[in-house]
């Protein structure tokens, strides 16, 4: 069993809105992260990536409702923790960085003040008791995230930092509590490609040095393919496919993953037009009864519209599809026969 995983989530469901007409932002998500593993969580806006991460940190507040068959971090049920334990979890067990670092930093306080505040809350016993120790730790944290002249930078205000520097400060603050898991929610989307490359290299180095797991939430498939060990693809609140890198990009099991890859300019180098996915992601209350992708799927047949598939093991990965794709990218499990029957009838 996977009980040894650092994160073990089964059947996670997060609802918002009135109980009579709940809107499930996350609808039955399974997610496991091993210690020291980099997992890429990929999906379009509204697919439930960020809400999944917030539920994992215990940060979904009323009126949001979290339900799960299992919601464990390091072998402990997050829902069974009291308030004090939950506060310790968010910061020491799990830390999180966000897309816009300048929105995450308080513009009224210096980098040093904010960093030392985090260390006072989440540092070890020595650091919590001694100001000099906190200052020394702040300097070493800034050095660790490769900020030049760290002593001078402690006196800087957030507006004096570039976007890349601000994101490094956020990473320094996140690792101050020596977390076992760092959740990075679109950490490089607001950055230039050159700085993005530096920040991703930094995250990869930190996880190697600290044996820290990393949950990388992004919509950029290329970033995931270069950084992650394993990928989870979400669509409209559900996991569509999980698999190891690079298998999932070379031979995707789910038509959604295949369509996302086909839409990238990189896969269309000599073609004038890009392959597109018709239609839009289903909204809050218009999710189809069958497979969520069925209205947009190029392979959808009768069963796809009638019956929602389960997330099942296929080869080395898992896919939520009645007719998972083979290595040549063609649907299997009797899809040809089912479609032929649909055409003749």
């Amino acid at each position: 069993m996977k009980s040894a995983s650092l994160v073990d989530i089964r059947g996670l469901r997060v609802e918002f809105g009135p109980t009579a007409h709940p809107f499930p932002a996350v609808d039955g998500v399974d997610l496991a992260i091993d210690a020291g593993e980099i997992v890429g969580l990929v999906g379009e806006s509204g697919s439930g990536k960020s809400v999944t991460a917030l539920a994992l940190m215990g940060l979904v507040d009323f009126p949001g409702r979290v339900r799960a068959d299992r919601l464990d971090f390091a072998g402990r049920d997050i829902r069974a923790m009291n308030a004090r334990e939950q506060r310790a979890l968010a910061g020491r067990g799990i830390a999180m960085i966000f897309q816009d670092p300048l929105a995450s930093l308080d513009p009224c306080y210096t980098v040093g003040y904010q960093l030392e505040e985090t260390i006072r809350l989440h540092g070890n016993a020595e650091e919590r008791s001694s100001g000099a120790m906190r200052r020394a730790r702040a300097v070493s944290l800034l050095r660790e995230v490769e900020i030049p002249d760290p002593v001078a930078r402690l006196r800087a205000f957030p507006h004096q930092l570039s976007g890349g520097m601000a994101q490094r400060v956020m990473i320094a603050s996140a690792i101050a509590g020596r977390p076992q898991l760092l959740i990075a929610d679109e950490p490089t989307t607001a950055l230039d490609v050159t700085v993005q490359a530096q920040v991703l290299a930094l995250l990869a180095r930190l996880r190697a040095e600290h044996a820290m797991a990393l949950l990388l939430i992004t919509h950029d498939l290329a970033v995931v393919s270069e950084t992650a060990d394993r990928v989870v693809v979400m669509y409209a609140g559900q996991v569509m496919e999980t698999g190891a890198v690079p298998d999932i990009f070379e031979a995707p099991l789910h038509p959604y993953t295949q369509a996302l890859l086909d839409a990238l300019p990189e896969h269309n180098l000599d073609r004038a037009r890009l392959a597109t996915i018709p239609g839009v992601v289903p909204g809050a209350y218009d999710r189809p009864a069958g497979c969520l992708l069925a209205p947009r799927c190029r392979y959808a047949v009768g069963r796809c519209h009638a019956q929602r598939p389960a997330l099942e093991p296929v080869g080395s990965g898992r896919a939520r599809c009645h007719f998972p794709l083979d290595a040549r990218g063609r649907p299997t499990r009797g899809w040809e026969a089912e479609r032929a029957a649909a055409i003749t009838s």
Partner: protein, 334 residues
Amino acid sequence: MSASTLASQPPADAPLLAAHDLTRHYRVSRGYFRGHSTVRALDGVSFTLEQGRTLAVVGESGCGKSTLARQVTMVETPTAGKLRLAGIDVVDASADVRRQLRPQVQMVFQNPYASLNPRRTVGALLEEPLVIHRRGTQGERRAAAYAMLAKVGLRAEHYRRYPHMFSGGQRQRIAVARALMLGPRLVVADEPISALDVSIQAQVLNLLLDLQAELRIAYLFIAHNLQVVRHIADSVMVMYAGRAVEQGPKDAIFTDARHPYTRALLASTPSLRGRRRAEHPGPAAEPPSPLAHASGCAFRARCPRAVDRCAVEAPAMTAIGRVRVACHRAGEDG
């Protein structure tokens, strides 16, 4: 000044857009007692763009891409240099001539959630450019708006709806439709798809390509995603600290780049076929402050190949192979 004087000026073979040594400096206050200093946001950029073609401008934030867009769209007047639209001088033109030129250059912005007025219907948004330029009767404007909706893949019933009722991709279609209402010959697109979801980006890119094929519009396409640039552009200009460091046809830039900065950008671009991240972290450090005026080459502090000469002498644009490049060491290798 009338339309007839405009028509008499341009030479027949002039490119649609020609910039020569285009420069824009801003004076900024450094504090009450410290006086002013100059930001060289755009510092001598030259290029041409032909009718129906796409020039992509790439570079990091602060390199002058958006300043260039503000000069080309005639929102600002350049500090120095020449800018010609279909052979007509834009910089020294009278207000009257500029007013006549502006409909020919329209803009599509990055974020369609911010660029569309939430209190106006799609119909009103599309007709507004026509109202401002006093084109047609009310009925003609409405007919033009309906025709444009169909052209960008929206339906007639969308005419009465408000922007919040649309998805991001549909909103960007509306923004494109609005830019095309005046029949421009040049559209400046500033990161038009980077705010959109992956599955929607392809739809909007296809729309831009279809419209270009149908209407022979030229695009000045500002982007940071080199994979997208590779798909849509005919030629590419790479900018750094207000200057063009390398420019040339797309194929040459992507297969035969000479400038170390272009190579660094290409190496930093994530790819599905990419190696593991830690093996190629790209260039060190970050772009310089726009207030710093270093002597010599602006890129030398981050450049792996910098030599003493780079600190003293600013490299000039020279043609090497199929590209034009500003680097002292560009000619040294194959």
